[in-house]
């Protein structure tokens, strides 16, 4: 009997009915992780997990997460477990503290069985730039397609059925894009809803901790555990938390949903459009009002460059601590300054250095107004435009990506990509801190694709409610990529 491709409630019931023990679950997940052929893992916590599962507090048996194996993206701090952000510079870094998400998961009885691969320092969307190389899409048996990123390993592990939940981070669309490529539910909450304490910062004003599940209920349930104020993260919200599973089945009558013309017009894949339209029909049949609304194309086109300038600028500052002086793989030199220069020159890949150069360039006095300040103004305008839509609508709904997972192209220069609205628009939710969820819509040539829903800040309950209906309409939940 295999459990790791089941959903949380099924596994939980099996534990409660004594059909399986947490130890057996953890052993199953570790065995699957060891046999992973998608390059999903930075580190498999076999020893640590087996130790923790033996120390599980049986009084927590009724928690849904009790004994559930999970994986954690490798930019999230885990005490005494290596955390590398898939960068050579941090290949030997072992944190001295747990991130808040890890603490919360473990308090519920979840067991971390592995740390997952990612684009180096979360800067990338392909899953090809980590120091261990390309992470593959489990749905593609030819190993020629990306899983997307930057939460690549987490997406690969859960869609391959290694674990039922996987933690990631989302700065532009780093959870929600891979979710589309892997038939997953990928969620990031309102900025400030889940503590970022312990998340390696890339661009803090865009950064979110989020996660993958294989169905909407599990996604809503996980927020119950992870949401809430954390004094260690000053930006975490005091807004009261809710039971996010409570409104999943609420009727959709009167719910207003907007499709953004500029995004949908940019999608040409007929299969994707077809499935998307079908899901809209289903929403309408259930009482939702779905309208097509305009947002100024100039603003939609500005999302990617704006995101790029601000995130690169913030990233230079956030990664300035990686200098080999205090931790990380130091490369010696005659002076401290030489140590710093040598470490950073050798520790980062070319792509990361490109970002730092662009980020620093954007913030220099002579360029600041033209780039950094202008990007911040742009961000404000973009967020205002989406807020205007949210004044009349509960949610915005569009395809999460214009295509299925693209072919691996290691020469692809993601830094100077041509602007493509439907490819990059989801970063609007990071700019405004809007909660956002991607969920499966269909398959094309056996490769999945998804849709994305976003709502006003702190309207997660409504978001899960609509998502639940879309899931009912497609019937696509608990999908696991089959092994050969």
């Amino acid at each position: 009997m295999r459990y790791m491709d089941k959903n949380l409630r099924e596994i939980h019931n099996a534990i409660i009915s004594n059909s399986v023990t947490p130890l057996e679950l953890v052993k199953e997940a570790i065995e699957l992780a060891k046999n992973d052929d998608n390059n999903a893992f930075e580190y498999i916590c076999e020893k640590e997990a087996l130790e923790k599962v033996r120390k599980l507090d049986p009084s927590k048996k009724n928690n849904l997460l009790y004994g559930i194996p999970v994986v954690i993206k490798d930019n999230i701090s885990t005490k005494d477990i290596p955390t590398t952000a898939s960068s050579d510079l941090l290949k030997d870094y072992v944190p001295v503290f747990d991130s808040e998400v890890v603490t919360r998961l473990e308090n519920e009885g979840a067991i971390i069985i592995g740390k997952t691969t990612m684009d180096e320092l979360a800067m990338g969307g392909t899953g090809t730039s980590g120091h261990l190389g390309t992470t593959y899409n489990p749905w593609d048996k030819t190993k020629t397609r990306i899983i997307g990123g930057s939460s690549s390993g987490s997406a690969a592990a859960i869609s391959a059925g290694v674990v039922p939940i996987a933690i990631g981070s989302d700065t532009g669309d780093s959870i929600r894009k891979p979710a589309s490529y892997a038939s997953l539910v990928g969620f990031k909450p309102t900025w400030g809803r889940i503590s970022r304490f312990g998340l390696f910062p890339f661009a803090p004003s865009f950064d979110h901790v989020g996660y993958f599940t294989r169905n909407v209920y599990d996604s809503a349930y996980l927020l119950n555990i992870l949401a809430g104020r954390d004094d260690k993260d000053s930006s975490s919200s005091f807004e009261p938390i809710e039971d996010y599973t409570k409104h999943l089945e609420d009727k959709l009558e009167g719910t207003r949903i907007a499709v953004i013309n500029g995004v949908i017009d940019n999608v040409s894949d007929k299969e994707i459009l077809n499935s998307f339209n079908k899901s809209i029909e289903y929403l309408r049949q259930n009482g939702a009002i779905v309208d097509y609304v305009d947002i100024d194309l100039i603003l939609l086109e500005a999302i990617q460059p704006t995101y790029f300038i601000i995130s690169s600028s913030e990233s230079t500052s956030n990664n300035a601590n990686l200098d080999g002086i205090k931790f990380g793989s130091r490369i010696e030199g005659k002076t401290l300054e030489e140590v710093m220069v040598n470490t950073r020159t050798n520790g980062f890949s070319r792509r990361i250095k490109d970002r730092f150069i662009i980020g620093s360039y954007s913030m220099l006095e002579e360029n600041r107004n033209e780039l950094f300040i202008r990007a911040q103004k742009c961000r404000r305008l973009i967020v205002n435009a989406f807020n205007n839509v949210f004044e009349k609508y509960d949610a915005i709904y569009c395809p999460a990506a214009p295509t299925i997972a693209p072919k691996i192209n290691l020469k692809e220069d993601t830094v100077f990509n041509k602007v493509n609205i439907s490819e990059h628009y989801m970063a609007f939710a990071n700019m405004g801190g809007f909660p956002s969820i991607t969920l499966p819509l269909g398959f094309e040539n056996s490769m999945p694709f998804g849709g994305n829903l976003s709502s006003k800040p702190f309207q997660e309950s409504k978001l899960f409610n609509i998502a639940n209906y879309i899931e009912k309409g497609t019937g696509l939940s608990d999908k696991v990529a089959k092994r050969d």
């Binding site: 701090s77 955390t83 001295v96 304490f197 910062p201 913030m363």
Partner: protein, 472 residues
């Protein structure tokens, strides 16, 4: 044409809060290197800043003491630069919105009252301490993250003496407000200054002098630098834009580096610290509960009857004020207590090279000793010998008094009985007194003193003798 010096200051005050500016690591000085450190201070990835409330309260109090406008939104920015003593690769500071703006401070220098405008006061975190021994560089992160207040004045000082007086006053303010230990020799207060010359037509380049850590060095460095610059101007040479340091051994300033275009710090608001609204109530409360400044205490002490001189001496140090106020709780005379502190106590402190906190006689003991004199239980000279013996032996005042039976002093009735006995045994004394021989009084007092081994209070005895003689 007359060349005038213009000087502006940046004063860094290291706070004495319990924990650091953005982490919960303790602030404690003189500990083993790298023992007062949290993961945040080492900038381990994923750590986040949390603002120290007491540090904010301190900044509000100092801003208020400097008559500044206090911002009601607290915001922090990142100053980005690479240096090995800067763990995060940026310093969290307040660039765009300093907590205090547009203040001024009036003080006395020479015989003049001078007012200096203060541009800004902001909160920031200290860097780590870096030092080099042989071929090795060492970093001590204990200092990293200690809360710092930076005070920036307008360039309005004209002399080293003015600057010295000003820094003295700032030091007194931050010490009295419990914001800092204020020990310049330990780097709690560090001063950078800009010195330049001007005449009616021209202003010469600014020269920066960094890291001055004593009041006398500040004055000496300025005096030297002003003369050096004047000399250059007179000789027709140019003054370079440079950074210099003060070389104490040779009493001169030495060039550290030539200033190129200013470093671009790529400031931006720290996204991990959302703006914090400071309510009017919070600000008001911080100010209302603020400890008293030296000049407030001075005023208060004068209303208690202290002379300007005594009040000034006591308010020179916060510890002395505390000692004085503690002593007052016994109910002794403020004036007498101030006298004792400023003369007897200070003499001992100077001799033993200790601070009043280390003084063996507590304020309560001293107050009670004075009270014994005031209640005529002992006399002044006895009190002094008790004091001296207590200082020398380290015993408590009470122990000394008990041991010497000093407190077996005659009360009014006992003295009167003695006086009566003397007069009764020699009736001539009364007659002589009535015939105008005032000396009789002294004679009787002398007899009482010798009969009591000087345990009677002379002035009381004197008074009682006169009354008794007149009564007869």
């Amino acid at each position: 044409m007359e060349l005038r010096a213009i000087i502006g200051l940046e004063i860094h005050v290291e706070m004495n809060t319990k924990s650091k500016m953005f982490s919960d690591a303790p602030v404690s000085f003189g500990q083993l290197p790298n023992t007062q450190v949290s993961a945040f201070d080492m900038s381990f990835p994923g750590t986040m800043p949390t603002v120290n409330k007491q540090a904010v309260i301190n900044a509000i109090r100092v801003s208020n003491a400097l008559n500044m406008t206090i911002d009601n939104v607290l915001m922090f920015d990142r100053k980005n630069y690479f240096y090995s003593d800067l763990p995060k690769g940026y310093q969290i500071t307040q660039y765009f919105r300093p907590i205090g703006r547009n203040g001024c401070l009036t003080f006395n220098s020479g015989d003049e009252n001078i007012t200096i405008n203060i541009e800004r006061l902001h909160l920031e975190e200290d860097t780590c301490k870096q030092f080099h021994v042989d071929d090795f560089s060492y970093l001590d992160f204990n200092r990293a993250g200690i809360p710092v207040i930076e005070i920036v004045t307008k360039p309005e000082f004209k002399s080293g003496q003015e600057v010295r007086k000003f820094v003295e006053l700032i030091r007194s303010i931050v010490v009295f407000l419990d914001v800092s230990h204020g020990k310049m020799e330990e780097g709690n207060i560090r001063v950078d200054l800009n010195v330049s010359l001007e005449d009616d037509n021209k202003r010469w380049s600014k020269v920066e002098i960094k890291n001055l850590n004593s009041l006398s060095n500040i004055e000496k460095a300025i005096n030297y630098e002003v003369n050096r610059q004047k000399d250059l101007v007179i000789k027709g040479k140019t003054i370079g834009r440079e950074t210099r340091r003060y070389d104490e051994t040779n009493d001169r300033t030495v060039m550290l580096r030539i200033k190129t275009d200013s470093v671009d710090y790529r400031y931006f608001t720290d996204p991990n610290i959302p703006p914090i609204k400071l309510s009017d109530e919070f600000i008001k409360n911080a100010i209302d509960t603020s400890p008293e400044l030296a000049h407030v205490k001075q005023k208060k002490y004068k209303t208690l009857g202290l002379s300007d001189y005594d009040a000034n001496l006591i308010t020179n140090s916060k510890e002395t004020c505390a000692y004085f106020e503690k002593g007052l709780e016994t109910g002794c005379s403020p004036k007498t207590l101030a006298n004792w502190i400023n003369i007897q106590v200070q003499k001992v402190l100077k001799l033993k090279c200790i601070s009043i906190n280390e003084f063996s006689i507590s304020a309560k003991e001293l107050g009670e000793l004075i009270l014994l004199v005031e209640e005529h239980k002992i006399n002044n000279s006895q009190a002094k010998s008790v004091f001296n013996e207590a200082v020398e032996t380290g015993n408590s005042v009470i122990d000394v008094i008990n041991k010497n039976k000093t407190n077996h002093i005659l009360d009014e009735n006992e003295i009167l009985d003695l006086i009566k006995e003397i007069i009764n045994s020699n009736q001539n004394l009364v007659n002589d007194y009535k015939n105008g021989k005032e000396k009789v009084v002294g004679y009787i007092v002398g007899l009482v003193m010798s009969k009591t081994q000087r345990k009677a209070d002379p002035s009381l005895t004197n008074k009682l003798t006169v009354v008794e003689l007149r009564r007869r």
